[in-house]
Symmetry: C2
Subunit: 289 residues, 2 copies
DNA sequence: GCCTGTAATACCTGGCAGGTATCACCGAGG
DNA sequence: CCTCGGTGATACCTGCCAGGTATTACAGGC
């Protein structure tokens, strides 16, 4: 009984309501009126046979089942848009002359230029090399890009990125450094600890944007590496980066190794179910570096 | 342009056609008439802006984009049915009194009873133990069950199961044995090699069913452990199993260790994006065994 | 030629997604 | 107390589109 179905329309509707916790705003976001939205959600609850939302007179809350559907539904929606995107790309490629593959590689903007260059050069030298499109992505956005099909493969940095759900190969391990204004007293130190840089009264740690929101704290809000570089140069903040960040330091910056920071491991990662030959070639090249 | 959308209905239709490579049969399988199916697929191709099928006068073939959509579409459909199933289960659980969690554990029928017992006993002793439903699954079916939400967690055996797309922890490693009729001359050997058992003229290796189809070969077709046990006892076939299979041997069976068979590693595996407390507890228990 | 089996086209219809108007409910003020 | 603002639910209507039937178009095999 109770046929499955679950149309994507219903999933989109539910996710919108679950995120807004407000039928009116959700309807607006979806570009529709509120009553059909209410009806669609009720229908969904009847179809699944479970309550998803608790309608309090003042707004809406999620039940346990609702939380589950929010998580799983997001994953399902990502899988659907990934299917559409990858199909479009595969189609555009093979219509001209043949299986002209093209891979989209998501890279955290500005990180590990050196490794990236080596990888691209080595791969381009391969006999059957596909075209590689490099897609710069914001902080920790690579996971999302792999999941929704904007990218086929990504360079990710453990432990910052979660490799959950992807296959991956380890490429490089490096230590971390603190980047300080050269004028600051601590810049003279040979090494520092995390406790040192986390607790400098006049140099609060910068806070990076993740999906539009910032972690709490006293430091300045950053969403751009140039911004950050400038603020450090001005003596207003300090930042922690992998070793390879030395490549873009300014004269006013000083890098000091951190003794107790966890090492940063760069992985090449891809959706676990990928079956592309071009991707396999790129991975083979990467692991040989 | 070309809004995304991709309704699940369209995905189901396309997957059916791509699997049957025949509009008529696909329509029948979907319980609908052929013309609307044709139209829906055409509409899908227009919407995506790529050709998915090559209509030869005699049947249908997939383009590169079609292959891509078949793979990705299957994954997306699995994610959708998983969302529905897990939501239903979560809802049924929390309606009685609270977050009464219940986990479904998929286990290859008949394998590693001992490990399973230890795990269940140890977990039941935990203070906040959820209810565990053990779901016996056919050969290599656990992956599918995790993917489409019939199970929350599974015991899988590398290298037979692919762990792609799941998180997992290693639980146990064991060697493999050949199970022979006691009457057979080779049963007297202390050890055997894979080459030995793969090339016995009068004892062809049994072939297990995987999703209804059998690998090619001379041996008998098997889909049930009891069947297999009987055929071995009758001296008609030989089989290769992990060491723990000794538990169910009959008097007419003889187990001989294989020297060069790859070790079998039992993992506990779960969907990478799971965020359930009960699951975390089970995994913690398992890794402590 | 004809017959068979394929997918595509033409046309019609019922159900359902979506819109508008309205209700029912409740908390906050005066 | 009553009203007012803001919530989600209900009632009702309508246009679109998913799906069905009948038919066409095309290619091979006898």
């Amino acid at each position: 009984m109770a046929m499955d179905a679950l149309e994507t329309r219903e999933l989109r509707y539910f996710v919108a309501v679950a995120e807004e916790l407000h039928f009116g705003r959700a309807a607006e976001r979806l570009g529709m009126a509120q009553p059909p939205l209410s009806r669609a959600i009720q229908q969904l609850e009847r179809r699944l046979g479970v309550g998803l939302l608790v309608r309090d007179r003042r707004g809406v809350a999620l039940t346990g089942a609702g939380e589950m559907l929010l998580h799983e539904g997001r994953a399902a929606l990502d899988a659907i848009t990934a299917a559409a995107r990858r199909t479009r790309r595969a189609g555009g490629a093979d219509s001209p002359d043949g299986p002209r593959n093209r891979l989209v590689l998501a890279v955290k903007a500005g990180a590990s230029h050196e490794l990236l260059h080596k990888l691209l050069d080595a791969y381009a030298a391969e006999p059957d090399a596909a075209e590689i499109e490099v897609l710069p992505s914001g902080t920790c956005e690579q996971e999302e890009m792999l999941r929704d099909g904007r990218a086929d493969v990504a360079l990710m940095h453990a432990p910052f990125n979660s490799l959950a759900g992807f296959d991956s190969e380890e490429l490089m391990t490096e230590g971390q450094i603190a980047i300080l204004p050269s004028a600051h007293p601590l810049a003279a130190r040979r090494t520092l600890s995390l406790a040192d840089v986390g607790d400098i009264p006049d140099l609060p740690l910068a806070r990076w944007a993740r999906r539009g929101t910032y972690p709490p704290g006293p430091g300045p809000e950053i969403h751009d590496q140039t911004q950050l570089a400038q603020l450090i140069a001005l003596g207003r903040t300090v930042a922690v980066f992998p070793d390879s960040a030395r490549a873009w330091l300014w004269a006013e910056h000083t890098a000091v190794p951190l003794t107790d920071a966890p090492p940063v491991v760069t992985h090449i990662a891809w959706p676990a179910h990928s079956r592309s030959l071009a991707l396999a070639g790129l991975i083979r090249t990467a692991t040989r570096l």
